[in-house]
């Protein structure tokens, strides 16, 4: 089976949810018109990234009666969507979250587990952490979502892999650093990690990053899609907003895994025993 996927590499308005929503709806329409069946937006795509004290005021609950999610769910009747937002739970905890929306339904919400709080990052000050990695069914097979720092911990994609994910949907708002090489140091790292994961997990790795500035931080874009052979099959430009559409041939999973049966031979039981003993 083949399907068409769009990377919505956008800039955002910091704390202006209405303006960001409008952009999401416009791009979802454009993606659907281009034949895309799934569109991926970056981390915190509906709010902006360095929210600080804005975190609680831009939060929403992913439900049909929510003013932000109602139009998004309506749009998801035309194509599936992954959107980034701040989720407020019933007890007023706030999470960096990404929702998978399809056919008017909230299929899955992932709450970012690893909240970087060092260097330029201060996420734990403002947000509660998620505590699970769950794969979920989509019309394109079983998928999993990871948000930025989540995928710097190799156990996160591994957990999703063991939970049956073949399609990894990664989102980030990654600030650029390192200017000695051809591309930004942080861009090179993210690209290398995605390439390595796609080959090691023999799966599709889709990464949507954002662009633009927030004060002095620059978000570099360069969103990518890697296939189960570790081949880059799409890359959005650096630093510019772009809607990048590409085709994923899910039959590649079969071809790769016959050649390289890493999934078949994987021994999570050994890992489990080891971890219990340590």
């Amino acid at each position: 089976m083949k399907f068409s996927l769009a990377l919505a590499q956008i800039n955002t308005h910091l704390g202006d949810v209405d303006a960001n929503l409008e952009k999401h709806l416009a791009l979802a329409r454009e993606a659907a018109q281009s034949g895309a069946q799934l569109v991926i937006f970056p981390e915190l795509s509906l709010t902006g990234y360095v929210l600080q004290d804005l975190a609680a005021t831009v939060a929403h609950r992913p439900r049909p009666d929510d003013a932000l999610f109602r139009p998004l769910l309506e749009a998801s009747r035309d194509l599936d969507m992954v959107v980034g937002f701040v989720e407020e739970d019933r007890r007023y905890r706030y999470y960096i979250a990404a929702a998978y929306l399809s056919a008017g339904q909230v299929v899955h919400v992932h709450r970012k587990v690893y909240l970087p709080t060092y260097g330029i990052f201060d996420e734990k000050r403002y947000f509660a952490a998620g505590d699970t990695f769950h794969a979920f069914e989509t019309r394109f097979g079983r998928a999993g979502i990871l948000i930025c720092e989540d995928f710097w911990h190799v156990s996160s994609p591994y957990a999703l892999w063991m939970d049956g994910a073949d399609l990894f949907l990664l989102t980030s708002a990654s600030p650029g650093r390192g200017v000695t090489d051809q591309i930004l140091g942080s861009a090179q790292w993210v690209q290398d990690v995605n390439r390595a994961y796609s080959g090691l997990f023999t799966s599709f790795f889709v990464h949507a990053n954002r662009v633009g500035f927030e004060d002095g931080l620059n978000f570099f874009g360069g969103s990518t899609v890697f296939d189960p052979d570790g081949r880059m099959i799409a890359r959005a430009p650096f630093n510019e907003e772009a809607l990048t559409v590409c085709e994923l041939d899910l039959a590649q999973l079969r071809r790769t895994r016959i050649r390289l049966p890493l999934l078949r031979d994987e021994r999570p039981d050994i890992l489990l025993r080891q971890l219990e003993k340590i």
């Binding site: 308005h13 910091l14 704390g15 202006d16 360095v50 600080q52 004290d53 804005l54 650029g176 200017v179 000695t180 090489d181 051809q182 591309i183 930004l184 633009g212 500035f213 927030e214 004060d215 002095g216 620059n218 630093n239």
Partner: protein
């Protein structure tokens, strides 16, 4: 020990011009104002800002004091002519001497601070008149050493080159086409005749860049820097300067007496809402 401060100038040029354009236009402005000293830092910022905003949207201001060197003025003019930007000449001698003349024994440091703050007043006045934001020109070496005048040259709306060491400023200046005489001359705040930064600081920028890179970027301890080959006295001088001048790098502290206080638990980026 080999310390490599080389940057990819093409990559940095793109990043910094996008920064200037984005961070000026998102606040509703489209123009910039820049004090052009004739030195390499402000020349580099002029090239970046002219590229980012269009030359017609960058007002360059020359603000000589009576002791400023003629070379400085001429070098600033090379930049203005090469870029085709609008410019103003606003000498600060009368402004500054209004205060300086009251204190015949005034030190060079006090005079230098007054000149820097007069220039700030001129630039912020032009900011309103030209409807442009003041663009800063302090590099990372100066900022870390605290080699600036608080509310003088340290006052601006945004700073594109504050994360570049002096050596990296030079690399980028070559990339954007800063005229050769500016690249070649010794760095000087030009506060009095014959002054050079390195003479006043007591060490060279090259030494300072390398040490700061280890201390700040690479998180070496001062002791590790000595082991890496830097003179102990030099390391101690630089570490002391960094700490003593930290007040120039932060907003003044507000005394906290309520549950929510600006600077501590009222936290928003400048770009809030844009």
């Amino acid at each position: 020990m080999k310390i490599d401060l080389s940057i990819n100038p093409v990559l940095v040029r793109g990043l910094l011009t996008r920064f200037i354009r984005t961070e000026i236009t998102r606040t509703g402005f489209s123009r910039g104002v820049l004090g052009l000293s004739g030195g390499i830092d402000s020349a580099l910022v002029a090239y970046l800002a002219a590229e980012a905003l269009g030359p017609q949207n960058l007002l360059c201001v020359r603000m000589p004091y009576k002791t400023s060197s003629q070379d400085s003025l001429e070098h600033a003019m090379l930049v203005i002519q090469d870029l085709g930007v609008p410019y103003l000449d606003i000498p600060i001698t009368e402004m500054a001497d209004g205060l300086i003349s009251r204190f015949p024994e005034m030190s060079n440091v006090r005079k230098g601070n007054i000149m820097a703050r007069c220039r700030m007043i001129v630039l912020y006045d032009q900011s309103e008149a030209f409807q442009g934001l003041v663009i800063g020109t302090g590099n990372k070496t100066e900022i870390l050493l605290g080699y600036s005048t608080l509310y003088g040259d340290s006052a601006h709306a945004l700073n594109p080159i504050g994360d570049l060491y002096k050596a990296q400023v030079r690399q980028l200046a070559r990339e954007v086409g800063v005229p050769q005489p500016i690249l070649d001359k010794a760095p000087s705040a030009d506060l009095w005749a014959g002054q050079t930064d390195e003479q006043e600081l007591g060490f060279t920028y090259e030494e300072a860049d390398q040490l700061l890179y280890l201390l700040v970027d690479q998180r070496y301890t001062p002791e590790e820097c000595v082991e890496a080959g830097f003179r102990r006295e030099f390391v101690e001088t630089v570490v002391r300067r960094m700490r003593r001048n930290h007040f120039k790098r932060v907003m003044p502290p507000v005394a906290k007496i309520t549950t929510r206080t600006v600077g501590y638990d009222f936290l928003y980026l400048r770009d809030w809402g844009t």
